[in-house]
């Protein structure tokens, strides 16, 4: 029996989460399955846009897709804990901690299975950055500023920091920043660089985990996965893990280069290193969000996230 799997991604195909995963993963699976598994890949969101992945994958509209874990908040609310500042792991820690067999991974894999999807791999694309038109160094700089947010979690965080979270489509963010419709935007570093936000902003804050991080994943339709014989299931999982490790390593190596690109384009970049007073200032400002999170999420999960 041979299987034809559709694999969909969104956002820029040049983002390392796509460019350093999809070719490697499909090549590995193809080789190791002796061509029993073939792929149709769709890069750039023409098949499923980001916010629809949590229904499209369980429905089988596509078999495998890139997703943010946060996008699943409408189906399994626990995932938003990953966008809270409770998550203080560095990307290097995440490399080891978000693997099959590790408790955090297994926790969310189980949650997604209840919703009809399998977690093929999960990874950290790095802490989100704030690209702004105003000087940003201290939490108080955000007060009253209109900030475009990408998710519920980020919106709550901005509210806690007294900013006004604003929703708009990705395509309009560049011109909204350019023309002052919003004062800033929070989002992934590589995405902001890819969309050239630095052309229209003056400042960037790279909080290096003080505001949490961005966990993305590749997920697969559960029925499709289980319809394959066990040896093929194993090949898919192992290939995903291998391609993911390489991609995660690449992202860790290149994160600094992306920050430098923003700096090179004339933006004033503030990097908050863990343990410095500046970093702690932001942590303290978000204390309330963390306390709230500790109350909201299951105890078991909070412990998993907070113990290293």
């Amino acid at each position: 029996d041979s299987y034809r799997l559709s694999l969909s991604t969104w956002g820029s195909p040049k983002h390392p989460q796509v460019s350093h995963f999809v070719p490697e993963f499909t090549k590995l699976v193809g080789e190791r399955s002796d061509g029993r598994i073939k792929f149709r890949t769709f890069e750039g969101g023409e098949m499923v846009k980001q916010q629809f992945v949590p229904t499209a994958v369980p429905q089988g509209t596509v078999d495998i897709s890139l997703t943010t874990l946060d996008n699943w908040s409408g189906r399994t609310s626990d995932v938003t804990i990953l966008t809270t500042p409770l998550w203080t792991r560095s990307m290097k820690d995440t490399l080891g901690a978000l693997k099959p067999g590790q408790p955090i991974y297994d926790y969310f894999d189980k949650k997604l299975r209840e919703q009809g999807a399998i977690l093929l791999c999960a990874f950290d694309i790095g802490p989100p950055v704030l690209s702004t038109s105003f000087p940003i160094e201290h939490p108080s700089d955000l007060a009253g500023k209109k900030i475009r947010v990408y998710s519920k979690g980020a919106g709550q965080m901005m509210q806690a920091l007294k900013a006004a979270p604003t929703t708009m489509s990705v395509g309009e963010v560049y011109s909204a920043l350019q023309r002052g419709t919003v004062d800033g935007a929070i989002g992934g570093l590589q995405g902001a660089v890819g969309l050239k936000h630095f052309e229209v902003t003056k400042y960037m804050l790279a909080p290096m985990g003080a505001l949490g991080t961005l966990i993305h994943a590749y997920v697969m339709n559960k029925d499709k996965f289980e319809s394959m014989p066990e040896d093929l299931q194993k090949i898919v999982m192992e290939s995903a893990a291998k391609a993911r490790d390489a991609m995660q390593g690449y992202i860790i190596d290149k994160y600094g280069d992306f920050v430098d690109q923003v700096r090179k384009h004339g933006n004033t970049v503030t990097v908050l290193e863990a343990g410095t007073p500046g970093y702690d200032e932001w942590r303290n400002a978000l204390q309330g969000v963390n306390d709230e999170a500790r109350r909201t999420y299951p105890k078991e999960l909070v412990e998993l996230i907070e113990t290293k």
Binding site: E46, M47, Y174
Partner: protein
């Protein structure tokens, strides 16, 4: 060859067959893709994919701008804005040759800068202008042709419903697309005006209106005349998003209509009714057109066709091939269906030919303009026929010069992309 390799092409064949048999286009698109999908997958999966894609295709915030820009057009119709605009342009055109024809085209251009629709533009101006043009001896071919042709400016000069749709399909900034349409729109307005000015018979302007009368007339109509400027400035400076501009235009026209005591509750309801029917029609086309395009993409048909084109034709030849394809499609498709079918296929071809997404957007919309005035299926022709009774083929003769200008414009946009890009790139 597997069935799976043919399903995409089968869906295209089914689509054209059903359309030929006069099945509503949105039904044809939905059923063609659904039926073809059943050839390769089981019913449950096909049905789940269908509804998932329908929901995705409907949940696009940028589409919210559509009913708003449609409503601005219908409110203007109900409040006789066409009469005002035409009165002003007629007064200013004064005694120059063919003044009435020139006034018609310029009135279309101004209306185009408020409305997102070419049919609204043609209908609103046509109702006032055609009787007067006929009275002055322009003849049916010219009178109808001027309005049908001038009306197409409605979708190149912002705001523009097809540009919103293009922006949604290609994820291009709609604000930038709108601004990109300004210069090509003005060039076409100028070219149209010159065609009308130099067209025989050289009818003298009949009336000389004094400067003070012109000014007072302009002042009296300044409420409507100010709106295009407000819209362009609001979008250009980014104070508001295109959707917000649509909402604010609606409210502006409501207040203006009430202040001028031209908008009664009954007229407002009539405007809403037409706008709602139109939105319902467009909405279904867009949602099921996206489902059809989604299926084709899944079957990798657009990719194959695009490759076939770019392997065999590059640069200006690829462009010429696209223009020919658009001319053929445009004879029988209206613009939303045409965009939905063509964009997935031609966008990669355009990219391979080095066209910027903004440039291709304007290119595609000019192609839509041609479609709207080319027989036998040209919605502007139908509209003018509907309001004036002028025969379809008489109208078709009248629009020939406009079609020729539009074809030239397609090449101009390709060879001189700066015409399109200069203004949006200066938005910083």
């Amino acid at each position: 060859m597997d069935l799976i390799d043919w399903a995409g092409y089968i869906s295209i064949a089914l689509l054209f067959l059903m359309m030929l048999l006069a099945v509503p286009i949105f039904v044809s698109m939905g059923l063609a893709a659904f039926a073809a999908a059943l050839l390769i997958d089981d019913f449950q999966l096909v049905a789940r994919t269908f509804i998932q894609t329908v929901w995705q295709g409907a949940s696009i915030f940028e589409l919210v701008a559509l009913p708003l820009f449609i409503l601005t057009g219908t409110i203007m119709q109900q409040t006789d804005a066409g009469r005002d605009l035409f009165a002003v342009t007629k007064a200013w055109a004064g005694s120059i040759s063919n003044s009435l024809g020139v006034a018609t085209i310029v009135a279309c251009g101004i209306f185009a800068a408020i409305s997102g629709s070419s049919i609204a533009t043609a209908a609103t101006v046509g109702l006032v202008a055609i009787p007067l043009l006929l009275e002055e001896g322009y003849g049916k071919t010219r009178a109808g042709g001027f309005v049908a042709g001038g009306g197409t400016l409605g979708i190149v000069i912002p705001p523009s419903i097809p540009l919103i749709l293009y922006g949604v399909l290609t994820e291009t900034s709609i604000g930038q697309l709108f601004i990109a349409g300004v210069v090509p729109g003005i060039i076409m307005l100028t070219a149209f005006t010159l065609v009308v000015y130099f067209s025989r018979p050289q009818i003298k302007g009949t009336q000389d209106v004094s400067w003070s009368e012109c000014l007072s007339l302009t002042l009296r109509c300044s409420g409507v005349l100010a709106l295009p400027i407000i819209i362009i400035v609001a979008i250009y400076t980014g104070i508001f998003t295109p959707t917000e501009v649509g909402a604010l235009s609606v409210i502006y026209l409501l207040i203006l209509g009430l202040a001028q005591q031209r908008l009664t509750f009954g007229k407002f309801v009539a405007a809403l009714r037409t706008a709602t029917a139109t939105t319902g029609m467009l909405f279904m086309l867009i949602v099921f057109g996206q489902y059809f395009a989604h299926f084709l993409t899944f079957e990798q048909v657009p990719q194959s066709i695009a490759h076939a084109i770019t392997d065999n034709a590059t640069g200006v030849w690829a462009i010429t091939l696209m223009i020919l394809a658009y001319l053929v499609l445009g004879t029988f498709l209206e613009s939303a269906a045409m965009l939905l079918i063509s964009i997935p296929i031609f966008a990669p071809v355009a990219a391979a030919a080095g066209m910027d997404p903004l440039v291709f957007g304007i290119f595609a919309v000019i192609a839509m303009e041609i479609a709207q005035i080319s027989p036998p299926v040209g919605v502007n022709l139908f509209t003018i026929h509907g309001i004036s009774g002028i025969g379809l083929w008489t109208l078709a003769r009248g629009v020939i010069p406009f079609i020729l200008i539009q074809i030239c414009m397609l090449y101009i946009v390709y060879f001189f992309p700066e015409i399109v890009l200069w203004l949006p790139h200066s938005m910083k």
